[in-house]
Symmetry: C2
Subunit: 120 residues, 2 copies
């Protein structure tokens, strides 16, 4: 369900968050889908349950999932988190664009890159 072996050295709980967020945004995990239990996922990834719990807790704070003691964790029904994600990604995009500016890459060139490299 999730792969954590990305070479980067970021914290494990961040990788778990990113993987789950991606699954939710892409629709692979639809609204109300039941996530694996904290202990279950911990075993399958061979990491500590506390680490999974941290990922779940933060994903809940961000609005992607809802956790219910005794029942489990589920993909949130409301999509407000997706809007927040858009805002965040847009900030990153503009920061990137500013860096390209200083490298002498025009906005037109950037736009071209985005439109052309559609199949990656």
């Amino acid at each position: 369900m999730i792969q954590i072996n990305t070479g980067d050295s970021r914290p494990i709980y961040e990788k778990v968050k990113d993987s789950l967020r991606q699954l939710i945004i892409s629709g692979a995990l639809g609204a109300d889908s039941k996530l694996p239990s904290v202990r279950e996922l911990a075993v399958s990834l061979t990491i500590n349950p506390n680490t999974i719990q941290r990922a779940y807790r933060e994903l809940e704070q961000e609005g992607y999932i809802v956790s219910v003691p005794g029942k489990g964790s589920f993909v949130s029904r409301d999509r407000s988190a997706l809007e927040a994600r858009k805002v965040k990604l847009t900030e990153q995009l503009l920061a990137l664009a500013a860096e390209f500016d200083e490298l002498g890459v025009t906005r037109e060139e950037l736009a071209a890159i985005i439109k052309e490299e559609r199949d990656t």
Copy 2:
């Protein structure tokens, strides 16, 4: 010359690297410009010389600067590092675009954002 107080919690040496890289790319520090000495910059930023040395060493590995024992560190004359930077930023850009895709933001919309938000 450099500010390190950006709220993020990234390593100090990374912030120093980013600051200097930005100054070099923007042209604020032209080719052959002399950088502050390791000890000098360490004092002015109130951090350990070892931390500065690490930033300088990595900037040299990336091709932005050249360090000469006894003389100092200088902005590199050849611009190959800038091309490498472009490649790296382009990778980041395409990764971002892929995320926008899944959020339902079209490439045309992305291009529009890039062109419109010119003054940020």
